[in-house]
Amino acid sequence: MPFLELTHVSKGFGGPAVLSDINLSIERGEFVAIVGYSGSGKTTLISLIAGLQKPDTGTVKLNDLEITEPGPDRGIVFQNYSLLPWLTVTESIALSVDQVFPNHAPEKRAELVAKAVATVNLVDHAQKLPRQLSGGQRQRVSVARALAMDPQILLLDEPLSALDALTRATLQDEIERIWEADKKTVVLITNDVDEALLLADRIIPLTPGPGATLGESVTVTLARPRERKALNHNPEFKRLRALVTNQLLGYGARRRSTVTKKLILPDILPEDLDLPRTTRRRPLRPNEAKAEQITISA
């Protein structure tokens, strides 16, 4: 029995469906990356798993129980951190811990908070407010906050997409290290194929929306721990990267769309300077808009 299971899930927001007929099953302890174009409904997908939104049709089940509302068994790391600006690092994490483990003794809870802070290497910044932290540090707080709840599954919604390349690499390594430590089930949403290859056991491409659905999954057989430098020369890595990239690009080509756009030309018809001054007409205002068809290939 799969740990997390989505069957025939679709979701729209009034208009055309953002996601349609999503089927996904994830085993316990698996690290799955869902890769897709921006705007293809990745965040909607994770909101459905988190229970922040309800599917229009189909069911989302965790441990064979249908998900109807958000809960601390599913830890979320939001794309934009979502830290409360008035809480320090410690306070932020303590809010989670106090809520999830109300029966623990205060010392035990403080210990859990301290452990979470240490896990993400923020001990020196424990008493800082989010505005005093860099983007990478903020995202670590967000990860620590999710981990401190000891969730059954960790949902990472493009956690690193707002960071610069170097910070990104550091945090990717850190996520791998943390995952290696307790092998939680993880769903990572990303638009970075390399990131997915570095971290995931399985990569599932999401076709572009509207009506996005999941493509065929690619199993990543690379041995762990995956060393970033070594990977660049690994033939299997190159093969998988080409495979996933081509799959995504294939969707892109299919998405090749025709856009009808109204081009409004400058509202004047220029005079012809080649004609002699006496015979040429003055500039005209034709008040005409010309419709043109442009084909854009993605």
Binding site: P70, G71, I76, S82, Q99, P130
Partner: protein, 261 residues
């Protein structure tokens, strides 16, 4: 303009100087009933130099009067905040509540304190001698409440969905969501409302004292007008302005402290 040493002090003094010159010229040319600056100072000296003296019910040092006014303002203002903040929260949280009460708020909001005061006196008529005090409190509270109500409502509506999602994932109780997320997120807006409310409360107190004849800086102003001591009108105006300015500064300091993010 180029910056120079002490420009923050000298330039405002230049402005004040110009106004005093204009005042002095006016008092000798077109507004001959207007006391000159010098006469105003001579007539006000006792009130300013012995600011806490009490010579009679309506003949007291100017700061003593101001103190009476401030106490009344503080009471009315506290009432306004205690009533206005929850109303603001309800408006921000519930669409139904907004639909029911927003129109009436929009209608009551522009009503002048001068119109509320008689109603306040009538409401508390059976309290006898206290009617004036309660009426004034009622007027201050109802007039100064609106900025708090509206700013709080705007603040609550502006709380990012992300913050609320954090609470939903943690399954925070309603009370915890309120205290841990909604109130801290709304505080900056609330304090802007509090500051505007205090400004209005101070405006209203003068009008309320004038109509009820209570001892206070506004009551003093009206009494001295009736007693033809015009110098004291100017003294009162200056004091009312200065006190209002100081109150506003203090509130904006508080406001800046609570600016998050």
């Amino acid at each position: 303009m180029k910056k120079f040493k002490l420009d923050w002090l000298i330039l405002p003094l230049v402005g004040i100087g110009l106004i005093v010159v204009f005042w002095a010229l006016s008092s000798v040319t077109w507004a001959t009933n207007l006391p000159s600056p010098l006469k105003t100072w001579q007539a006000s000296r006792d009130y300013v130099l012995e600011p806490f003296a009490k010579r009679g019910e309506m003949d007291q040092g100017i700061l003593r009067f101001t103190w009476y006014s401030l106490i009344l303002v503080a009471q009315g203002y506290a009432l306004a905040i205690v009533i206005g903040t929850p109303i603001g929260f309800f408006l921000g949280l519930s669409k139904t509540f907004t639909k029911i009460f927003d129109p009436i708020i929009q209608i009551l909001r522009p009503v002048s304190p001068l119109a509320w005061l008689p109603l306040g006196l009538v409401l508390f008529l059976n309290t006898g001698k206290q009617a004036g005090t309660f009426g004034a409190l009622f007027t201050i509270a109802i007039c100064s409440m609106w900025p708090t109500v509206l700013n709080t409502a705007v603040g609550v509506r502006a709380v990012p969905q992300d913050y609320l999602n954090v609470g939903r994932v943690l399954k925070l109780s309603r009370w915890k969501t309120l205290t841990k997320i909604l109130i801290p997120a709304t505080l900056p807006y609330m304090f802007t409302g509090f500051r505007l409310s205090l400004g209005i409360a101070w405006l209203v107190i003068v009008a309320a004292e004038m109509l009820t004849g209570r001892p206070g800086v506004g009551g003093f102003l009206w009494q001295e007008y009736n007693a033809l001591i015009y110098e004291h009108i100017i003294l009162s105006i200056v004091v009312i302005g200065l006190v209002g300015f100081v109150l506003d500064r203090l509130m904006s300091l508080l406001e800046a402290r609570f600016k998050t993010a």
